[in-house]
């Protein structure tokens, strides 16, 4: 506790850095994955390459990806853009499959009924498919949210500052409290952002309480 009170300012700054690095990839991967997932669910020909591709992407370990991305995109190694790009890719890797499953879970009869009552394809997507896919989509989004928050810490070993910096600093300077603070705060941030997702879903889908899937 003593260590924490003396370093409150630094910890606060790292917490803010952590948020700035975690939230954009979560939002971006949602925006990218929903249309891709819909495409994958709707077309057999697109499904296999999309799902295999994103599945393989997920297999690439995070630290190597943090080093490969700057080399591909020409970012500097320690820039936040590296982190956000890498984590968005990971997010998409999980969410495209989740979104494809979510859209596939919309019953065919409901789709037929919507078409029969005169929904245009566009109207069908917004008014029927997306709301019905919502609950399954939410459970994938929650997984992405929590794992993104946790993955941001890995960037600390290549010098991108976040709550993970508390781990590398604490390890090098032999301060348990620093590492423990970092672990606790990371878990708290993950749970808070997870709660935000659930709350957002409840507001967006008032007709059913959000389904939770661990």
């Amino acid at each position: 506790m003593n260590w924490l009170s003396q370093n409150l300012h630094i910890v606060g700054q790292l917490l803010a850095d952590h948020m700035v690095l975690s939230i954009p990839p979560i939002v971006l991967s949602l925006l990218i994955s929903v249309p891709l997932g819909r495409l994958a669910a709707g077309s057999r020909r697109l499904r296999t390459p999309l799902l295999t591709g994103t599945g393989l992407l997920y297999a690439i370990p995070s630290l190597p990806l943090f080093i490969i991305i700057p080399a591909v995109f020409g970012f500097s190694l320690r820039s936040p853009a590296t982190m956000i790009t890498a984590l968005t890719l990971y997010g998409c890797a999980l969410l495209v499959r989740g979104a494809a499953d979510a859209f596939a879970s919309v019953p065919q009869e409901v789709r037929l009924a919507a078409a029969a009552t005169g929904h245009s394809p566009w109207g069908m997507f917004w008014k029927v498919e997306l709301p019905l896919a919502g609950p399954v989509l939410l459970s994938s989004l929650r997984v992405v949210t929590v794992s993104t928050v946790s993955l941001v810490t890995v960037g600390a070993v290549i010098g991108i500052s976040s709550l993970g910096t508390l781990f590398t600093d604490g390890f090098q300077r032999n301060i348990d409290a620093s590492i423990v603070t970092g672990i606790v705060l990371t878990v708290v941030v993950a749970f808070v952002l997870d709660a935000v997702c659930v709350l957002g879903a409840r507001i967006a889908m008032p007709w059913r309480r959000a389904v939770s899937r661990a």
Binding site: R44, G55, P61, A71, S150, F167, F171, D176
Partner: protein
């Protein structure tokens, strides 16, 4: 792209494949260490998860463990165990075990639980012993999901074993971290490419094993395994 060329050159340089620092050695370390972690996780997680799935007792614990574990930052565990246990293989082993157990446990549990209760009841009604039900009905039917759990555990372990080099000089994380320290970009990138390739290779192997298991569990469906089927 110049960077990649340098990295490939570094990878192809015979000097990096010889001597006490040979890359082949690093790869073997990486695979061996990951395999031990996954095997230990399987030895604990599969029986425990199977038991919970078979009896239905302890579901809540599984959900809490798998949900909570995802939020735990592995680098944090690695460094704190490193401080407590000192530099060596113990700390990364423990941190990776914490990482690997939840998916194995969840896979075994979900797999056994997903087996139709009516099928299990029928097997019992015609006189299979509990052991025969477990070995002959529940495990084969659950195998694709159990292997799925092992697959995600193995991937995460291989991936995170790279970080192990941060506190104990082992595996494919070594060239990455020494490259980082000495500003040798080709070495860093080369090491990274190697880990990525290794992870992809493991992923592909598991995909093959998993679809073989799915063919056994659902023999009449020869195309895609259940976990990947979408009826659009």
């Amino acid at each position: 792209m110049n960077l990649f060329l340098e990295a490939v050159q570094w990878l192809l340089d015979p000097a990096n494949w010889a001597g006490p620092n040979a890359l082949g050695l690093r790869i073997l370390e990486h695979i061996g260490f990951s395999a031990v972690v996954v095997l230990v996780a399987a030895a604990i997680g599969i029986p425990a998860g199977t038991l919970i799935g078979h009896t239905g007792r302890g579901r809540g614990a599984i959900i809490a463990i798998t949900g909570g574990a995802r939020a735990l930052p592995t680098l944090g565990l690695l460094t704190i165990f490193g401080l407590w246990l000192g530099i060596g293989l113990e700390a990364p082993f423990l941190a990776l075990l914490v990482l690997a157990l939840p998916p194995v446990l969840a896979g075994a549990y979900a797999g056994v639980e997903s087996v139709d209760r009516a099928t299990v009841g029928a097997a019992r009604a015609i006189g299979l012993t509990e052991r025969q039900i477990l070995m002959g009905v529940e495990l084969p039917l659950a195998a694709p999901v159990i292997i799925g759990g092992l697959r995600s555990a193995a991937l995460q372990v291989i991936s995170t074993a790279t970080l192990a080099a941060y506190i104990s000089d082992t595996g494919l994380g070594r060239p990455i971290f020494s490259g980082l320290k000495t500003q040798q970009y080709d070495m860093m990138l080369g090491g990274s490419i190697l880990v990525a390739l290794l992870a992809l290779l493991v992923e592909l192997c598991f995909q093959l094993v998993q679809s073989a298991a799915a063919r056994r569990a659902e023999p009449h469906r020869t195309q895609t395994p259940a976990s990947e089927r979408i009826t659009a």
